[in-house]
């Protein structure tokens, strides 16, 4: 039986968010919401991460950074865009330097809307992400067996 979904490690990257969503992401690790009870660890290292949490839109300066972080994460991996900015560009969408949401540079699996996204909805998104993570892991294992 695979237990891979019981240990999802998060990497949180702040694109060009106003910090509203970041504070809510960090709130998830506080005693009130305590995401660690799902086995979640908020790691700072893309190479150890399973779930990539992006807050804020992507601008021309950090597009390459977002891409590099995504590429450094080993498979299976899941990307969650947290907040309206990360989903679509949000209120900054029309700015000259903003490309749009995170999905303009990397494939996003789950969108968590809200300005700012509430901790409850972020946890909801992470739980959905964990289910998807398990699915992707199973697929990866099957394809490895086939080869």
């Amino acid at each position: 039986m695979s237990t891979i979904h019981k240990s999802p490690w998060l990497l949180h990257y702040d694109g060009s968010s106003c910090n509203g969503c970041d504070i809510e992401v960090l709130a998830c690790t506080t005693p009130v919401y305590d995401v660690e009870r799902f086995g979640v660890i908020n790691t700072g290292n893309p190479m150890h991460a399973d779930i990539f949490l992006v807050t804020g839109g992507v601008n021309s300066q950090n597009a390459s950074v977002v891409k590099q972080i995504y590429e450094q994460m080993p498979e299976p991996k899941v990307v969650i865009a947290v907040g309206t900015c990360a989903c679509t560009g949000g209120i900054f969408k029309e700015c000259y330097n903003i490309k749009g949401g995170a999905d303009t540079v990397i494939p996003v699996d789950i969108y968590v809307p809200g300005c700012a996204a509430r901790p409850e909805s972020i946890i909801d998104g992470v739980v959905k992400g964990v289910a998807l993570f398990k699915e992707k892991a199973a697929k990866l294992a099957a394809s490895e067996k086939a080869n």
Partner: protein, 296 residues
């Protein structure tokens, strides 16, 4: 001890050490979470983490790294086998130091800035801890009659060695905080996820490689807890109970220190570790010599 018992003890170490230390780690995370007013993950969490790491994609920075990490694990297991089968304590300490060299080589083989920074910290940590580890072996040698480094003889001494070696014990427990990668927070690689140098020496180790390093750390912890227990072992068959109680007390103490010293930096670590080594172990060594020469 017969050769058969030695082999059984060594096999027990290889099989049981990760189970016991993994569980202790799980309870550690649970208790830490409770101390912070959280619910915390399942006590089996360390095993889930390890299993997941083995299932992740293998993204090796270079082929040498995996080989070096395997050597790191092998040397730690060797030191554990030597210790639990009752061989030479000095050899155990040397095998542990040799293993650290492989970890450093593995970290530097990638040229990542975080790994390099972590390597410098790891070297500082070795400087902080190594004198105490060696002194513990010397302490046991001086305390046992007749003088010996043999773990089997030490564990069967007339009275528990803690009576002669309280200073060594304090010094050793002090460096355990560093050895278990709990405090300071900017250590070469921390068992906490977020730290100043990302993940330091383990920053570039992906999936299976990181799992092997974690496993090696569990085996190392087993040896270190074993040395803590050795202070309380004697001819009395019940002494093993005292040893286990002492290990659990030290384990709990480490959790408390971890949760109360979140902002200690490595510079302070170096000074404190040497200070405690010189004062506690040095004084103890001095007194031990005086007592011994009077008896003679």
């Amino acid at each position: 001890m017969t050769v058969q018992t030695k082999v059984i003890l060594a096999v027990c170490y290889i099989i049981l050490a990760p189970v016991v230390i993994g569980l202790l780690d799980g309870f550690d995370r649970k208790i830490s979470a409770r101390m912070q007013g959280r619910k915390g993950p399942s006590v089996l969490q360390p095993f889930y983490d390890l299993k997941k790491l083995f299932e992740k994609e293998a993204l090796c920075a270079n082929r040498a790294q995996l080989f070096l990490i395997r050597s790191y694990l092998m040397f730690i297991m060797l030191s554990g086998v030597l210790f639990f089968a009752g061989y030479d304590l000095l050899l155990v300490v040397f095998a542990l130091s040799t293993s650290a060299v492989f970890l450093i080589l593995a970290a530097t083989s990638t040229h990542s800035p975080f790994s390099s920074q972590g390597t410098h910290r790891e070297l500082a940590q070795i400087m902080a801890c190594e004198p105490m580890e060696l002194l513990v072996a010397v302490g046991f040698y001086l305390a046992t009659v007749p003088r010996t480094f043999n773990v089997e003889f030490i564990s069967k001494s007339f009275s528990p060695n803690i009576i002669y070696l309280p200073g060594f014990f304090i010094g050793f427990v002090f460096i355990l905080t560093i050895k278990f990668r709990k405090s300071p927070f900017d250590i070469s690689t921390s068992h906490h996820a977020h730290q100043e140098v990302v993940k330091g020496v383990t920053a570039e180790m992906v999936g299976r490689e990181y799992a092997l390093v974690t496993l090696a750390e569990w085996y190392e912890s087993a040896v270190l807890y074993g040395i803590v227990g050795l202070f309380f072992m004697s001819r009395n068959p019940f002494s093993i109970v005292y040893a286990i109680i002492a290990i659990l007390v030290v384990w709990f103490l480490e959790i408390v220190i971890d949760n109360t010293s979140a902002r200690v930096k490595w510079q302070l670590m170096l000074k404190l570790a040497w200070g405690v080594t010189i004062i506690a172990a040095g004084m103890n060594l001095f007194l031990l010599e005086i007592i011994r020469s009077n008896i003679r």
